[in-house]
């Protein structure tokens, strides 16, 4: 009998998405343990490198969300330690985690993205950017999405229907990151496409039962209705899948990524962002997409481990 792979499941940490990451990590660790893997679940902290260096692990499963885990920091350390890991590499992670950078990259590859502007705190503190806020509304309209330039789970995100709330929304985003991304709000069908090893899985349509797809709609079981595949024409579904695959290639992703898309009323898919460490909780989109493709959560986790070992 061969020895089961020894896997470190990395989760937790001090990012704002720690709680979600703990849920993802625990679910992954339990699933892989049930499959016979030798699992160590690590709440990452100051001793991470020493534990990984001395732990004789075969691979690391990254179930981290937010800064450090998703922005290429942990990936760089794992590359330094020559430890195979799941998910996109350090560069792809860095590019994707910075939303304005990723959107610029997508646009250069001919992918539709919402019109947007990104402003740093420095721009306000030292360059008088507040004088440009009226121009933002003139350029992008008053229906806006204001969010931190880095980070996920809708923390610090505000949807606006008028210009009045713009400064408050910017302050809210600045509470999470040092730059803000202000986008034209695309009205349409919200979908998420998980790309698994280069192959787009069925699109998941997101319909919050009440209000917007905010933090509680994301993580309260039953608060959002999901449809798979999305209730869109075959032609539009294909256009969305193509856009997601293109975005995946544009940042140089591998193994898994979730591409968030809004399909405008005229059928144009706008790529909003690409998440290199998608949530793996009970209510997360990537596991739902896998389920819609006939892959159980166990299949998803074991495939990701096999990709990491394959690409070592």
């Amino acid at each position: 009998m061969t020895t089961p792979p020894r896997i470190a499941v990395l989760c937790g940490g001090t990012s704002l998405e720690r709680e979600v990451s703990m849920r993802s990590g625990t679910r992954v660790a339990n699933t892989l343990t049930d499959c016979g893997y030798d699992i160590t679940q690590l709440d990452v902290g100051g001793d991470l490198v020493a534990i990984l260096r001395d732990g004789a692990f075969d691979a690391a499963f990254i179930a981290l969300h937010g800064a450090a885990g998703e922005d290429g920091t942990v990936q760089s350390l794992l590359e330094l330690l020559a430890l195979p890991y799941t998910g996109p590499d350090a560069l792809a992670s860095t590019l994707s985690f910075n939303k304005p950078t990723a959107q610029g990259l997508f646009a250069r590859h001919g992918i539709h993205v919402p019109r947007h502007v990104s402003l740093s705190q420095l721009a306000f503190r030292e360059l008088g950017a507040s004088a440009a806020l009226d121009h933002i509304v003139d350029t992008l309209g008053a229906s806006l999405v204001v969010k931190p330039a880095r980070g996920g789970s809708s923390i610090g995100l505000t949807l606006l229907d008028s210009a009045d709330g713009l400064p408050a929304a910017i302050m809210s985003a600045f509470s999470c990151a040092d730059a803000v991304l202000i986008e034209q709000r695309i009205m349409g069908t919200e979908i998420a496409i998980t790309v698994l090893d280069g192959n787009p899985l069925p699109a998941i349509e997101i319909r919050p039962k009440r209000g917007d797809y905010d933090f509680s709609a994301r993580y309260t079981a039953g608060a959002t209705e999901f449809h798979a595949p999305a209730r869109l024409s075959d032609e539009i579904q294909q256009a969305c899948a193509d856009a997601a695959s293109q975005a995946y290639r544009a940042v140089g992703a591998r193994h898994i990524s979730r591409v968030d898309v809004i399909v405008a009323t005229d059928g144009t898919p706008f790529v909003i962002e690409l998440d290199t460490c998608p949530g793996l909780t009970q209510t997360s989109l990537a596991p739902l997409a896998a389920e819609a493709a006939g892959l159980s959560f166990t299949d998803l986790c074991t495939q990701l481990v096999s990709f990491a070992l394959r690409d070592a």
């Binding site: 705190q121 306000f124 507040s130 408050a168 993580y219 959002t224």
Partner: protein, 420 residues
Amino acid sequence: MRLDTDPYLDRYAERVQGLKTSEIRALFSVAARPEVVSFAGGMPATAHLDMKAVEAVAAKLIRDHGPTALQYGGGQGRVELREHLVNVMAEEDIPGHADDIVVTIGGQQALELVAKCFLNKGDLVLAEGPTYVGGIGAINSHQGEIQHIPMDGNGMRTDLLEAELERLKKLGRAIKYVYTIPNHQNPAGVSLSLERRHHLAALAEQYDLMIVEDNPYGLLDFADTRRVSVKSLIPDRVIYVSTLSKIFAPGVRTGWIAAPAPIRDKLVLLREAADLCPPNLTQMLMEAWLGTQPWQQQVRRFTNLYEERSKVMLASLAQYMPKDVTWTVPTGAFYIWVTVPGGIDTSMLLPKAVQRRVAYVPGRGFYADGSGENYLRLSFSFPETDRIAEGVSRLGELLYDERELREAVYRRTPPANESS
């Protein structure tokens, strides 16, 4: 295909529909990390208990009374413990008999049982604004409606309570009870003045009110003052709630309710449906603690410790906070209530605070109506003094930075044609 993340959704009771995951709760998960100086939780300094004495009491309990300690007990709680709890109340001159008492799983179960006993959907409770998060939770979980009565440095504004009672009377709106924490209030840190206690009692008589008097902190008084309880003024109108969590430790989950006999009987029946009985093990441990140990000395040690920590926090606030930030001066217990300049939303600011490795509870949590955005609660009970100074320094820097950034974001230059 429709995918359900909660296939049981249609089966839940109506009161469960509003329960949802919150971003703030998720951020508290980061606050629990050792890198963060957390002023968030109201945690007693359990490391300062005499652990050798606790160990000896626990070992003796198991050795001498193991089978009883590990057996079921009665729904009202052990009479031996209830007699000791009467003595604890007597320390504050609060009248009571062992027979009036129902032992609960901490003060929180007491608040939940009271809400369950009295509230139908939409029933009105008046409470201080701000008030204890768990008190709000207990009332919300039974679909009660909370209306806040503002506070100042002398506790609940009973003049405003009177005005509100009159207004509600004219509207024909019934009030199920008034919920108050008169001593070292959570979160405000202040105590109800003697004059207002009498006023509250008089209003209860005049308007036929029941009062839920929640007193977890009364013995942790920095000036060793024993304040007049509302229960001592109008015993038949008060449901008194307390706990050993703050004067011993929350790990034993031992609280109690002292209530008029008919209410007590209903509470016992409700609690038997919930959990049959409080655990004999912790009840007997507390009997031994209160019966054989100098527990009042331990309470004094705790109080001195908390007073020292409160002084460090107050001095740090004076040193590090921007001039337009104000705070209460606690009369005892655990908390300081901080007011930040209007426009700053402390819920919105929490992610930034956590990233700067300091945590607090945003004011909104202490109001049922979603207000309280420019307040925050700091708990000084748990962190060591050097950590308190460090944490307040981080918070001060954060507020200075926030103010500067806010000014920059909200700054408006005049239109070009007016600027010359």
